[in-house]
Symmetry: C2
DNA sequence: ATACTGTTTCAGTAATTTCTAAAAAGCCTG
DNA sequence: CAGGCTTTTTAGAAATTACTGAAACAGTAT
């Protein structure tokens, strides 16, 4: 289903099973339910744990590891965003910054340089924003998401207001001035 | 580099080349620069066009197609978000809703049902939020992103205020009450 | 210690994805 | 409508990625 998320089929299936299950499952149960090999399950669980999407626990009187997913879906979403930032955004940013160190020699390179700078700036903002998100507790996040429509509208209103009052004074804030 | 985004190496290379180039390029030039086959470039360009990340244009006196990327990086980001919503989020939502139509029969299924409902709700919110984003012009988006830190802080302040005034009355809003 | 239970690694195999070259299909121009 | 010029499709080769069973490894209770 959603196997275009950089994870493979089996890993997705394991996660879905654990997410939907009403109790922690051990590797054996997962193997049987999904009909894939034991080692495949082991690998998949390891990957999911490295993403902090799955936790393991021990049940008293049983030596098996039992696996489950966090309850709160907002917490899950936050984890996903954070891990993706760490694994995808930040390394790319580091590389971009390195590349941007050396100056351009001709006009074509200058253009490429500027484009990379724009990309870098945007990615930095997204990375910062993601960091901020991490500090939020799930409840605030819920609220932030819910008000999604309102924030832009608020901005637009502010915009109109400042345009009106701005016109009177200087006719400045209408763009293209750097 | 960023080839874990559901697109393959070649497509990524083509996009990077066009993004960094200071002028539109034709398929032949891309083929030569990247050292991949002509047909591969053709496929890649087709895919990028279907994502609306690359546009083609004709130069007068030349029958070749010339390709370029939009200038504004915010516009690019918006396009990416929208296409990903269309291709990944919305189809999954449709499927989820379908599945949620049929009621649960036992307690394990009831739990799974509830989990799917939570997932569905979250995805709906994200989808709505993405729709709202599309209505924003790049400049507003820029601003929204820039204030990223401020919005949560505002929320937290509001939270504290309501806590203080709430304590006096009922001692309600401190969590874990469903 | 050792037998038992459970996990991880590994190397070969299977499946999928990506890439290419060649042929087909379009499209203007004369 | 033929002939060049370009793009697209296609079918199979090449490369990559995922999966498996077997063996190695780790921990614990007797």
């Amino acid at each position: 289903m959603g196997s275009r998320w950089g994870i493979n089929r089996t890993v997705g299936q394991i996660y879905a099973l654990l997410y939907l299950s009403d109790k922690p499952l051990n590797a054996e149960e997962i193997t049987e339910t999904l009909g894939v090999s034991r080692s495949n399950v082991s690998m998949g669980l390891k990957e999911l744990q490295s993403w902090r999407l799955v936790r393991s626990q021990h049940l008293p009187g049983d030596r098996k590891d039992y696996f489950s997913t966090p309850e709160d879906i907002m917490e899950i979403a936050l984890t996903l965003v954070e891990e993706r930032r760490k694994r995808e955004l930040d390394p790319t940013l580091t590389l971009l910054r390195q590349t941007l160190m050396e100056p351009a020699t001709d006009s074509a390179e200058a253009h490429a340089h500027e484009r990379m700078q724009q990309m870098c700036d945007l990615m930095e903002q997204v990375s910062d924003w993601s960091h901020d998100l991490q500090k939020l507790n799930p409840k605030d996040l819920q609220r932030l998401l819910a008000m999604g429509t309102a924030v832009p509208k608020l901005l637009q209103m502010k915009d109109k207001l400042s345009l009106i009052s701005g016109k009177e004074k200087h006719k400045r804030s209408d763009g293209n001035h750097e």
